[in-house]
Amino acid sequence: MLAVTTKKLTKRFGRIVALNELDLNIKEGEIYGLIGPNGSGKTTAIKILCGLLRQTYGSISVLGKNTLSKEVLNKIGYMPQETAIYLDNTVHENLQFFGEIYGMSKEHLERREQEMLKFVDLLDWRNALVSTLSGGMKHRVSLACALIHEPHLIFLDEPTVGVDPELRDTFWKYFRKLIENGVTVVITTHYMDEANNCSRVGFLRQGKLIAEGEPGVLQKSAGAKSLEDTFLVLSRGKKA
């Protein structure tokens, strides 16, 4: 079953075409990577799929629904590029707040908070003010806030930007654990080496999908040494 589909999804900002007739089919339970350089339309696509932007034309379907009703939004998690948590609140207060806006019961929230703190390894930091935490810890709190309500589908917009290699590796371990639990993960990144961790990737260039498939298969078919080379080969091919 498909978690996300888009048909001819197009977004224009004035004369700039951010997305150009994008067709996506993201399966349930996979890590799908939207890969591309800065300005290729990755964030725009995610924002439309989360309901933060309205498309110029084209259609979307998220978790089988064409409109982003409250019911659908309740099953979606979103982690923006920025840390996007409240620095003047504690880790616990942040998790509680985001749990409450997703309508979680007190008992469910308490149980889930413990799970999340354990998941991101911040059990000892529950009552710490977020502003006192390191950059890496803030990123982990941000991920925990996006997952607190047990979403079926999570959009992660460049979650590893500005994150050190060790934490990036930890994050990918978290993401793999998520799909083991049946969560669909849609992730954007411009780090090509990270794309190897995805079940499938879609290469975006100037708002267009230039290739889609399993990373290994794409690399093999392009005859490239790395995924970065694969992107460059495919990108030039399209250009030609």
């Binding site: 920025e82 948590i85 806006i101 959009f155």
Partner: protein, 390 residues
């Protein structure tokens, strides 16, 4: 000290303004705005104070006195001598209705001359008893000490001026002349001090300033840090976000008011004769409205520095034109209509009326309706501004 390095700092700071036109405009225009507002409003004389004169004085019958001119009506003389810049005078024959207008806050005072005002004056002179039988009766709304003293000063001056003119004819000094003032108060009294008048205004002002500024900074941060995006991608809708924050600021507003009220009562011994809870309702409405205004303004600020630029733009006009320090009547006439567009005016007006006049909802409903409309307008605007899927 290396001058080249020093000048490098100077140059960099000045060049920054070239790229931030808005800040440049702010830096140049703000002092101009401030001198204009302060220059026009600071310490101006009170003008245009609405009073009603009820003149029942029948004057002196012809030939009754060798000292005074035939048919003289002293009250008319005094009224004509009243400074018509300070007082906006209306005339009425009905003392009861005129007093009711003071009670309703439509006018500040009634100046009343009884039927035998001139006759009593003449008899006092003839008897040379020294008893002061001629009395100017003043029925005053004493809730605003600045206005009360302006009225009393103006009436006193007019009496002195009239007596000064007469003293040549009757050959006595004006200080000996038998006219007294009988002042009764609709609200307040001679014991109302400036702090009593000032405290309700300070409460409203503090709430306005804190709520507006904190909301602007809070929402600038929500946008800048990405939390707002996260909220808008959740099932929470714009109304829940805006009203949720509005309630928080209402609570903060009430706590601030309590702090100011308690301090004013304990330290300055201010007089509160009305229902404090009604005053708190007024303050709460003011806080909610300004929270909405803060969200709206946050859309025009990209960072905290730009948010701070709103302080003088909102605060100064509000402080100077809303009647916080000086009554609206002391602002130049051409600026007075502007005060109707400043919500703080209604907050101050309502809380003063409640605390100093003891008024209830029945009397301050116009202020309440305007504050509710202001809150509804800014909150609806905020919800539209936050509208997702643009």
């Amino acid at each position: 000290m290396n001058l080249r390095r020093t000048f490098a700092f100077t140059r960099r700071a000045l060049l920054q303004f070239r790229h931030d036109r808005r800040t440049l405009a702010f830096v140049l225009m703000m002092p101009l705005l401030m001198i204009l507002i302060f220059g026009y409003t600071f310490g101006g004389d009170v003008t245009n104070v609405k009073v009603t004169v009820v003149n029942n004085d029948e004057g002196l019958p012809a030939g009754a006195s060798p000292l005074l001119p035939d048919g003289i009506k002293l009250a008319e003389h005094i009224t004509n001598s009243l400074n018509d810049e300070t007082l906006a005078i209306e005339h009425s024959a009905n003392i009861v209705k005129s007093k009711q207008r003071v009670d309703k806050g439509e006018i500040w005072a009634v100046i009343y001359y009884p039927k035998n005002f001139t006759e009593n004056f003449f008899q006092s002179l003839s008897n040379a008893s020294g008893s002061f039988n001629s009395s100017v009766e003043i029925y005053l709304d004493g809730s605003n000490p600045t206005i009360s003293s302006a009225i009393m000063k103006t009436v006193n001056q007019a009496v002195m001026e009239t007596l000064g003119e007469l003293s040549d004819d009757i050959n006595v000094t004006s200080t000996e002349l038998p006219i007294s003032f009988n002042t009764t108060y609709a609200y307040g009294g001679s014991d109302v001090e400036f702090i009593d008048y000032f405290a309700p205004g300070v409460i409203s002002f503090a709430i306005m300033m804190v709520t507006t500024m904190i909301t602007i900074i809070l929402f600038v941060n929500e946008r800048r840090t990405g939390t707002l995006q996260r909220l808008l991608a959740s099932p929470a809708n714009e109304a829940e976000i805006v009203i949720g924050y509005a309630l928080a600021f209402a609570v903060i507003g009430i706590c601030q008011s309590i702090v100011i009220l308690v301090a004013a009562m304990l330290i300055f011994n201010i007089t509160i004769i009305g229902n404090v809870f009604l005053a708190l309702l007024v303050v709460m409405l003011l806080a909610v409205g300004h929270q909405g205004l803060g969200i709206l303004l946050s859309a025009w600020a990209k960072n905290e520095l730009q948010a701070v630029q709103f302080i003088p733009l909102i605060i100064f006009p509000s402080v100077l034109l809303a009647g916080l320090f000086w009554p609206v009547e002391s602002i130049p006439k051409f600026l007075q209509p502007l005060s109707y567009f400043i919500p703080l005016r209604y907050g101050i007006d309502a809380s003063r009326s409640v605390m100093l006049r003891g008024w209830g909802v029945g009397e301050i409903w116009v202020d309440l309706v305007i504050l509710i409309a202001f809150a509804a307008l800014t909150l609806t605007g905020s919800m539209l501004l936050l509208k997702r899927r643009k």
